[in-house]
Symmetry: C2
Subunit: 200 residues, 2 copies
Amino acid sequence: MTRRGAALEMAVLGLLHDAPMHGYELRKQLIVLLGWGRVLSYGTLYPALKELVAGGFLDADPAPGSTGRNRIVYALTAAGKERFRELVDETGPSSWDDDNFGVHFAFFARADSQTRVRILEGRRSRLEERLERFRTSLVRSRERRDAYTLELQRHGLESAEREVRWLTELIDTERAGAAPGSSTRQAATTHTSTTTKETT
Amino acid sequence: MTRRGAALEMAVLGLLHDAPMHGYELRKQLIVLLGWGRVLSYGTLYPALKELVAGGFLDADPAPGSTGRNRIVYALTAAGKERFRELVDETGPSSWDDDNFGVHFAFFARADSQTRVRILEGRRSRLEERLERFRTSLVRSRERRDAYTLELQRHGLESAEREVRWLTELIDTERAGAAPGSSTRQAATTHTSTTTKETT
DNA sequence: GTTAGCATGTAAGGAGTTACATGATTTT
DNA sequence: AAAATCATGTAACTCCTTACATGCTAAC
């Protein structure tokens, strides 16, 4: 029970809940799912899958499909679905960690409104705490800081404040009983039209 | 030569370049220096210091000062100053990594303008690459995504775009031969006045 | 005089990466 | 038939955290 990254566990279970997949495909989906610009490596994924199989959350079937190659298709077991539900319903500190918040958000559609609000609020207070501590330490030590250090801190502060405002908006929307992005914005695809160079 | 976190190494050398310090104090400074809301632990810091001493970059003096307690004050050696200079002048990919960029930026005042521009541009292209890949993958798979997934991705995209704009502004400022924050903005402390709730 | 905070360290382990090893399938 | 890319895995190593162990000093 080596506690293999809770975020990864939840993401894997959530994706396989939608549709069974083999590891290679799963990895690509995982990378897209969250802002994870970082590449999730096989050295992380395969051992994690192995453990989930050992724990009885996944079934591993040597794919009989398509061309009969050596792929292994993973699918959620009943225990896996139950485990995913537990994770989705979790509203403790672990759900608003830097690492876990993104995954929880990605599967918000599976949670009920109360859960969503609790997680969003938890996340917001965590950020506000950090912000507060940061501001105080800035005030305490403003001697001898050059323009670049100041700019770095100003930018950090601004980003964090923006994040807090984003969360506040989401909380308000949620309380009003609506889905995000339904009012003002066009959701995600305003840009995509230009710059479609395929430099792979 | 275990390659102990380049970011930590540079931050330690940079801070001790300004003023000798003992580990406990150093840790607090390190946490403030960057947006590091995360707590840098002693289990990371002390072994790192040990290694820098072993490498000849730091001198460790049992503090004879103040009350004669058991503190160890670290100071840069000549080799340490040289090493720091190397790190400051470095403009390769390592200088625009997620992990290292912040530290390099924090010590920008020590680098010359050319170095600064190179690092800023490197950082920007790295972010733009990521953005491009992200946008393409969004277009490729817009089926079956609920409002929350879309909102998460929209927000991620927006943050990254904002970051790129920030870098562009800095590059322009740098090319014009000015320091950041000198034109429009008031640098860092515009907020601090409101919201001073002390809910610890 | 005891609690809080200063100060230094070590051991174990968690969460991941890189590099390697291997082979099947598809594309050129 | 060669090259690309699909696909699965392991071993070694990195960087960091948590938890522990120790003792000194300041404040209440």
